[in-house]
Amino acid sequence: MKNEMTYKNSIHNLGRLTSAIVLIMILLVPLIISMYFGIFPPFRNLLLGLGTVTMIYLPISIAEFLTYTPMLGSSASYLVFVTGNLSNLKIPCALTCIENAGVKPQSEEADVIATIAVAVSSLVTTAIIFAGVLALAPLRPVLESQFLKPAFEQIIPALFGAMSGYWILKQWELAVTPLFIVILLFIFLPVPYGTEGALIPVIGLLSVISARIFYKRGWIKQPDSNNGGSK
């Protein structure tokens, strides 16, 4: 059996290699199209656009990276940053699977389970999008039906409601501070739609600080077990 170090190194090598390939492929697509059709945008306008989008998304990406990779472990992290849809799909999925498997978070076992969860959910999403492309015409009336519209609009509250039903009950001490701050913030500051993501690092940091204080004071008790439900 490979020891942990050797395995980790092989994952980092594989992750870096495949991520670099994806990165190049992503950039090759506009390059090939621009060259083939002779529609390369003027350099100045291209830089202006890139500058604007980078200003918005570089800080968000750094925050996502710092927040999510410790939850996922190494190998799942490489996959999520290629496949996307982190907060609305991959993170809840990985955390639920780690919890259900009854393995300790951040252990090697959790790393394996998170990778399985992220890989399988990516494959399923890809398959569903593929089916969506093939069946765009017949699906449209269902997905755009007025009757079902509220169901699709409320997927995020339904997801995070269910997540909080489980997690807040399990570790309410950790939930109190960030929830309180966020609620105050939303009451007193108009947070524009779609910019919530920018709040995640700030609230995450405050949440960690408060957890540290609670921990130092001995207010957080070691959970009896990693509650695996029926495990």
């Binding site: 998304y57 990778t115 399988v120 890809t126 409320q154 995070f160 269910a162 997540m163 779609g194």
Partner: protein, 237 residues
């Protein structure tokens, strides 16, 4: 040349297929590696199978909004590129914003503007593609070091490391709870009902020790929440 001839052209379909196939291959390679490693470190096949089942079922519902986003984006940006963007890294909210920035930096108001030419489309493609790479870049250059740092915290005090990661997670959870909780209305009712259904499932799983309840409770609670959303809106709430 109408930009849609480029955007729905065969070349772009071909490139899209290529990228998506590679990403599928990457997922399969990682899946296989994780599976073998799991066996090496003593995880039972059953535990890993449960993870496959849970994640496969869970992924279905949150994928629906992605298909809806595709329906919204495909007519303006063409099917293949929208498809690739939503399958690789992207997310619904990002794509339209980035495509719009690509247009506005060419002096065109937005996608769909009569002056949205093939060249403007190519600028949108560049901006959308290059704007989203940062997470990947960080993984390539920083992830190993960062994970080693986390590992050090873990070795020093594993309980604190666990608390730290969980409190990061609660920070994220709180941010997504903020709007429905403060704005009230149907989102709040849905949130509360799916939380309540989840509580019942968690409790039922503990009492009955039935495995599938644990595996599917999150998905079922979500579906229940969505069902309530239809019910509440029919009731005029």
């Amino acid at each position: 040349m109408n930009y849609l001839e480029v955007a729905n052209g065969n070349l772009l379909y071909f490139l899209t297929a290529f990228v998506i196939l590679f990403v599928i291959l990457q997922s399969l390679i990682f899946l296989k590696k994780a599976w073998l490693r799991g066996k090496e470190i003593g995880l039972s096949t059953e535990t890993m199978r449960e993870a496959v089942k849970t994640s496969a079922v869970f992924a279905v519902i949150p994928s629906i909004p992605i298909v809806i986003a595709l329906i919204a984006i495909a007519p303006v940006l063409g099917t293949p590129f929208s498809w690739m963007r939503l399958s690789v890294i992207g997310s619904q909210s990002y794509e339209l914003i980035a495509a719009g920035i690509g247009a506005s930096s060419m002096g065109v108001k937005n996608i769909g503007d009569p002056r949205y030419t093939a060249q403007v489309f190519s600028n949108s493609m560049w901006v959308m593609s290059a704007g989203i790479i940062w997470g990947l870049v960080l993984c390539i250059f920083v992830l190993k070091k960062y994970q080693q740092g986390i590992k050090k915290v873990h070795q020093k005090d594993s309980f604190w490391a666990e608390i730290m990661v969980n409190s990061l997670f609660f920070g994220m959870l709180s941010v997504f709870l903020g709007r429905p909780v403060t704005s009230g209305g149907i989102s709040l009712y849905v949130l509360l009902s799916s939380a309540f259904v989840m509580l019942i499932f968690t409790w039922a799983a503990k009492i009955t020790k039935i495995r599938w309840i644990t595996d599917f409770s999150l998905s079922l609670s979500m579906i229940a929440g969505m069902g309530f959303a239809v019910l509440f809106s029919q009731a005029g709430l």
